[in-house]
Symmetry: C2
Subunit: 561 residues, 2 copies
């Protein structure tokens, strides 16, 4: 019997940055070595970042990954960690390309003694939801189990664990001491429960602990929450990492394989205090996901600051607070852009927010900018309304061009669903923090964030008036959102059923909504696909985000809608 | 021995419009009956349009398709065509959903006697290039062959024909008289050669003619070229339809099965003059694809007219002519939007084009519109340049809002690749005719289109000066594109290798291009992904179009670029 320490290193790589990600890996191995770990596991594609999408077709990139993993093995040895087994996800060239032209496997390497000791290729490639892995990877066919310092370890990559057939079956027959699963599993508000149910089921099936290590960080529209964990053979969670942060989780495993296999270092272990991070409030998790999504988009793309319009309304207020939590209020540049139709409170609420938050703040009235357009083009009605929104977009982009800000666009999921926005106006920007947040959830998050502040004795960042007042685009006198849309609680219920749950119109009507209203909403969703196709990306938090998760034609004609 | 007539009905359906597509199918069956056809084959997904993308997950839509095919069978019988075997592509509910949640097959129905006689489910689902069929469909497993009026017919759907294993093998062993393949195979400039090579190979393998019927029409970014054809057992093309048009191609097949199978009508046949449409010039095909793409986007989405900026340059001139060829010059609204930096020729060339084309024309100077922005925001340099492009975008969108025009954006593939454009400025619009046309090909097409006109004795539509002068964005005095970019022939050669051929940087350098230049271009392509993600769709004509065919992360960091 031997007892060795496993480290699950929940790191935040950047897609494509093999040198930078290698440095993260070396740092984490150093920390884990100091904590007496003999085995360190990193997430799926830790070397390359995830998802690499069609970069998997690039021969250059696959070469860089293969060279990178060899170099990393040598560096770890030179760092004095050659006797630690290091498990790293990377991209590996396949012997034969797929019919569709994929040239590489989604693989795992076991680094030991300065070399790539073994590899395992992912067998089940997810090709649904946000995943296109059948497109970009060649599936593997060989299972991998190794004895590491007397501990029999089985290896899986993410989707492999979710499918009953294939490598899970094979490993279940091998009497393993632990199964290590490396993952790149993005957050959504329902994911966590499913994930833990699965871990419990598999640990019982393997009659061995399952050590699950997941990426953390934002990558375009995806946010990886980490949530690395170990579930023991009885189905009990015996270690769980802090979510939404880079961290290392430790767990000691008892081996039955005697002295066989790789002779990893086996130090006298210090006593390990089990870390089991408790569950948090769902709103807390969603807020953390939004903040991480914004922070990583800003920093990984090299922006120093963000700019956004502050209308005095709830969406822009929540966006500004998310941005301040992500990168600091001093790097947030808010602009009030009042028109002749703007209420007094739109300006006072915006100023109040900027003051509470301590962000940079400017006022740029649009009257002198839109007047010439209205006169020269003799604009009326919708065209005149839209010019106001577009002038605001031009101001924000001009400030971005002058000062290098990333522009945040503040639209929420409900608006984006039904096209309640002005293209090239309020839709302008590189990132949309609330893209996947329905309006009713925006309000909940605002209340939650204010409460979180006051619970700590801090001032509430969001003015109560921005939360309480009826939402309005203020593009004409007395306008409110409810002139054009049903109340947001009704709208969001219908949208949740129609989009997130993919319910049929007849099912929604049976649930008590008016046929005419449901058909109208479904029609609006359908005809506004062209706007969404040109919209900024934003962090995904639901089980059905607009973008790569929901791919629908623009040109479509359905008599039933 | 019997001899019956097959009709291949190359129709242009609208995605989702089951009632409208059924009407197209009934009309074509009537025409084919008048031409004494006993079997009429329609393309893949003729009933639903293609691609339906994630509509395949909609239980409503799958129900509509299944109901639609039953109703169509009854209608055909009522039309007096119940004794014609009608082969139609549709969507069919699968007995068991896939792990990823797909609920339907991509299927083929044989309609006869007022009923759905048989179905076949596509077995090979393409999941590369522009296709996501592993995502949205459940694969089938059973082959289908039937005797129709004594002719033994095997059935395949599109990708099935391209794969050596599976249904092709099964059918090759059955001694068939003909194999009918229904397709939704989009145009690209290289596709046609590959397609015919495959047809020849399969016909020889089957020792039977292959009857290939393909969709025609534009659907978002895809253009289906039709090109339906019959290749006989010796590998000779014995019938071929006009491309890019709705049409019916006929071919008589001799049967060996005696009187068995479905008792389809067998009339005394009139003599069939073989139709073998000859190949055209490649530029002719590309032009036809662009025109069809624009026409179908405009008409299928219900627009009456298009608007675009006319700069006097080559891109906007070619776009205007494509639009005029697509929907008529009287429905094309061109706007010259000169600034203080606009050359005299930019206005005179734009006016000359409008005059030659006979399109609607307006002049809207931007000086009074951009001045207030420059002054209020104290803009300089790039920010001031971009304001000009954005003012033009605002004008076009205002005209769209006032008059209902679809705005066409005129950027070409070379510009879009390297991000040589102003977001929310010249990128504004719903459709981008030149999105997949490299700049050098824009010039070739302009010359070709002028020559095609003068060959017919018509005036050349594009002013020679727009073709000859050096391209310039005219956002500052004396600016030309070559201040920022290498000569377009060099740029397009590098882009073709980098993007279309997915060559590595080292391979391109070996072909004789400077390392620094290639790396710079690769870097520009990479950092401008965010612009492309927000760009309008446009017709695909190459083997690697931006959009669903090339899926890359926005956030990416590669030290080698």
């Amino acid at each position: 019997m031997s007892r060795i320490r496993f480290a699950l290193a929940q790191i935040n790589p950047v897609v494509g940055d093999i040198a930078g990600n290698s440095a993260l890996i070396r740092d984490a191995v150093r920390d884990a070595a100091n904590a007496h770990a003999s085995v360190v596991a990193f997430p799926e594609m830790a070397l390359t970042g995830y998802p690499i999408e069609d970069l998997a077709f690039s021969p250059d990139f696959v070469d860089e990954s293969e060279e990178g993993i060899r170099v990393l093995a040598g560096q770890l040895d030179a760092d004095g960690s050659g006797d630690i087994a290091v498990i790293v996800g990377f991209v590996r060239r396949a012997a034969t390309p797929s019919f569709g032209g994929a040239i590489a496997h989604n693989s795992l390497a076991v680094l030991f003694g300065g070399e790539v000791h073994s590899t395992y290729d992912k067998q089940h490639l997810p090709n649904y939801s946000v995943f296109d892995e059948e497109r970009v990877f060649v599936p593997g066919h060989e299972p991998l189990a190794l004895s590491l310092g007397g501990v029999k370890v089985g290896f899986l990559i993410c989707e492999d664990l979710w499918r009953d057939e294939g490598p899970v079956e094979t490993l279940a027959e091998q009497g393993l001491d632990v199964v290590v699963v490396i993952n790149a599993s993005p957050f959504d508000r329902t994911k966590d429960d499913n994930r833990f149910r699965l871990l419990v089921r598999r640990a019982r099936q393997f009659t061995a602990p399952v050590a699950y290590v997941n990426l953390v960080g934002g990558q375009d529209d995806l946010v990886f929450d980490g949530d690395s964990a170990v579930v023991d053979a009885s189905g009990t969670v015996c270690a769980r990492a802090q979510r939404f942060e880079s961290t290392i989780l430790y767990h000691d495993v008892v081996g039955t394989a005697g002295g066989s296999g790789l002779d990893v270092r086996g130090r006298t272990l210090n006593l390990l205090a089990p870390v089991i991070t408790p569950d948090k409030d769902e709103l807390d998790d969603i807020w953390a996901a939004l903040v991480l999504g914004v922070r990583d988009y800003v920093t990984k793309n090299g922006f120093a600051s963000v700019a956004l319009g502050l209308s005095g309304g709830i969406d822009s207020a929540v966006c500004a607070v998310i941005a301040a939590d992500a990168i600091g209020a001093d790097r947030v540049f808010g602009v009030s852009m009042p028109s002749q139709w703007s209420s007094d409170h739109s300006q006072s609420d915006a100023a109040d927010l900027a003051n509470r938050l301590g962000c940079q703040y400017d006022v740029q009235p649009i009257g002198d900018l839109v007047g010439p357009f209205e006169q020269q083009l003799q604009l009326k009605g919708l065209a005149a309304e839209n010019i106001q929104a577009r002038a605001r977009g031009m101001i924000l982009m001009a400030l971005s061009n002058q000062h290098g800000h990333l522009v945040l666009t503040t639209g929420n999921k409900s608006e984006i669903a039904v096209g309640y926005s002005t293209m090239y106006g309020d839709t302008v920007g590189g990132y949309a923090p609330l893209k996947d947040v329905p309006k009713t959830l925006v309000w909940e998050l605002a209340e939650w964030r204010n409460r979180a502040a006051t619970d700590k004795g801090d001032p509430a960042p969001i003015p109560q008036n921005s939360i309480s007042k009826p939402p309005s685009a203020e593009l004409r006198p007395g306008q409110t959102d409810q002139d054009s849309l049903p109340p947001y609680d009704v709208l969001d219920s219908i949208l949740d059923r129609l989009i997130d749950r993919r319910e049929s119109i007849s099912t929604i009507v049976k649930a008590g909504f008016a046929q005419e209203l449901v058909s109208h909403i479904a029609h609006l969703v359908s005809i506004n696909e062209w706007k969404r196709r040109q919209g900024a990306i934003g962090p995904r938090i639901t089980r059905m985000a607009f973008g790569r998760e929901r791919r629908l034609p623009i040109t479509v004609r359905r008599s039933t809608l």
